[in-house]
């Protein structure tokens, strides 16, 4: 199903901004908020996972119900998950389309990746010691 992809700040994402490799951040930034009626149409229950695909990539997120959203729009907090499917095109403004991608969403049984896993997949080398 097609949706508009809206991303932004949340209080929990802000709280964990200095511990992005921790559990709290991983959890908050991999949630996909969807209107309950859209969840019905998708055939997805809250707590199950969805595959979100844009023209540049795809990512697995956990579905959450949010009545405040309009139908046809999802919301994901800022983070490496949402940014993995956002295009770098800025239309000459310097600002990517953080709130105006069109995405395709469907149920998936795949597991979410943690930020650390996404980082590694991209080719990063996480610093382990402290």
């Amino acid at each position: 199903m097609k949706f508009l992809f809206n991303t932004g700040r949340t209080i929990r994402q802000g709280k964990y901004i200095e511990s992005k490799l921790g559990q709290g951040y991983a959890e908050e930034t991999s949630l996909c908020h969807i209107h309950p009626l859209d969840l019905l149409d998708l055939g997805v229950d809250e707590g199950e996972n969805v595959l979100v695909k844009s023209e540049v990539g795809e990512v697995v997120l956990e579905a959450r119900a949010d009545e405040g959203l309009p139908m046809g729009m999802v919301f994901v907090s800022y983070g490496i998950h949402c940014n993995s499917i956002i295009s770098a095109c800025t239309h000459g403004t310097g600002m990517p389309d953080f709130k105006i991608h069109e995405v395709d969403i469907c149920f998936t049984s795949e597991q979410r990746k943690t930020p650390a896993e996404i980082l590694e997949q991209l080719g990063g080398v996480t610093y382990a010691g402290n």
Binding site: R9, G14, D66, G68, M73, I85, G92, I100, T126
Partner: protein, 430 residues
């Protein structure tokens, strides 16, 4: 145990300066007056203990001297370095960054470009009818939050500056103020509004135009709905704006990131300009980081331009869309990066992060961030507001000294950047 009052929180653009910290043995035990995010900032743990360097794909510990020399080598070797971030450091450090960029002939940009850059583009077209936050607190009887969600992103904004704040000219401020929230979804902030306008995605521009038309007496030409908003509601809101004594419009990335980007902000500014012919109205962008506005101020007085400044020609050159960090990374144009006070690996589109991966990167940050994974070296520094101090600019342009509460062995951003800069000058014989 020591109680320190009136400390400044270094997280969001509210720059709250009424924070109390309880300190003992060089550690912060607790905070008072902070929001959740501010508290997390002050109580942050797991700082990087020493500089680290990636050698043959593995991290090793190094000294500050080695880190400085490596940074100097990496940057001087580059043809087109990018110095990015800046919003999480104090102004004195930002000034050093500008000087550094001048020597390097590189590009210096801040998180502005992915947040309120479009607001600045709009201001450069039509100006900025603004005021300081105390004006709003003392006078405003109408607050409009458009495309922003302060309860989540600027949690104390409403209690310090707007809805719940006591004002000189308002008896019983909370009762006498009206709050309008405009958004595409019903956020936490929308739930406490007197009037919530739900707009269809991409409809901000049309709704702003409709309001301007109504205020200019051309309400007749407005159709029954505009972007999902009824004409009745539009007329009601226009009336509230026109008949208030002092209206304050706050807006966020809901406008800058929506379709039209800076054009949305321009329209909002022009709406406020129009309202000033009828009553008093001001506009304030909800700046996200505690010192992103400071980066704009410093870049402006030093180079002439507020962000995205390219020095490859030897003079300051500014062209957002070309000289902004996202575009430079997406086009693979930079061949070295210094990232300070921000985390692009977490907040930039994947294509940009891939270029970070393929480029020498220096990270200056107290904490391990996502960008650390793509860095060649990371240099930990003191946290401004905790064990370092410096100047920051609030979202309304007010400069505040962010004081320190404890001492530590970490160098401040200014100290480490100055070391790098001085060594650069030495190497170049300047």
């Amino acid at each position: 145990m020591q109680e320190i009052k009136d400390m400044v929180c270094p997280f969001c653009g509210c720059l709250c300066d009424d924070v109390t910290l309880e300190v003992e043995n060089g550690k912060i035990l607790s905070t008072d007056n902070c929001c959740t995010i501010g508290n997390a900032k002050f109580m942050g743990k797991n700082r990087l203990k020493n500089p680290i360097k990636k050698v043959d794909g593995a991290w090793v510990d190094i000294t500050y001297d080695e880190a400085v020399n490596t940074a100097v080598d990496l940057l001087l070797d580059a043809d087109r370095p990018l110095l990015y971030g800046w919003s999480g450091t104090h102004g004195e450090a930002q000034c050093v960054g500008i000087h550094m960029n001048e020597i390097l002939g590189g590009v210096i940009d801040s998180t502005t470009s992915v947040c309120h850059g479009p607001s600045i583009l709009a201001i450069q077209e039509v100006g900025h009818p603004g005021c300081t936050l105390g004006q709003v607190k003392n006078r405003a009887d109408l607050i409009v939050y458009w495309g922003c969600n302060p309860i989540e992103a600027h949690p104390r904004h409403m209690s310090r500056y707007t809805t719940y704040a006591d004002g000189y000219f308002l008896d019983n401020a909370f009762r006498n103020r009206k709050v309008i929230v405009v958004d595409v979804r019903e956020t936490e902030t929308a739930k406490v509004a007197d009037e919530f306008i739900r707009i269809k995605q991409g409809g901000d521009y049309a709704v702003l135009s409709a309001l301007r038309a109504i205020i200019r007496g051309k309400g007749d030409m407005i159709p029954e709905t505009v972007a999902g908003v009824t004409k009745t509601q539009l007329m009601q809101v226009a009336d509230m704006c026109k008949t208030c004594s002092f209206g304050a419009l706050f807006f966020g990335v809901g406008l800058t990131m929506a379709k039209g980007k800076y054009k949305n902000v321009r329209n909002a500014i022009e709406l406020v300009d129009e309202l000033n012919r009828h009553t008093k109205f001001t506009l304030t962008p909800m700046r996200g980081h505690w010192n992103v506005y400071g980066a704009n101020e410093v870049f402006s007085w030093m180079t002439g331009y507020p962000y995205a400044v390219d020095f490859c020609r030897g003079v300051a050159f500014y062209n957002p869309g070309e000289t902004t960090a996202i575009d430079i990374l997406a086009r693979k144009e930079c061949d070295a990066c210094m990232i300070i006070g921000s985390d692009p690996a977490a907040h930039f589109p994947r294509q940009c992060v891939e270029h970070l991966r393929d480029t020498p990167v220096i990270v200056i940050d107290p904490f391990q961030s996502m960008t650390t994974s793509f860095a060649d070296i990371q240099i930990p520094v003191a946290v401004t507001g905790i064990d370092a101090e410096g100047t920051a600019y609030r979202m309304d342009g007010i400069p505040i000294k962010v004081k320190k509460a404890i001492d530590s062995d970490y160098p401040s951003d200014t100290e480490i950047l100055t070391r790098i800069y001085d060594r650069m000058l030495e190497v170049k014989g300047l």
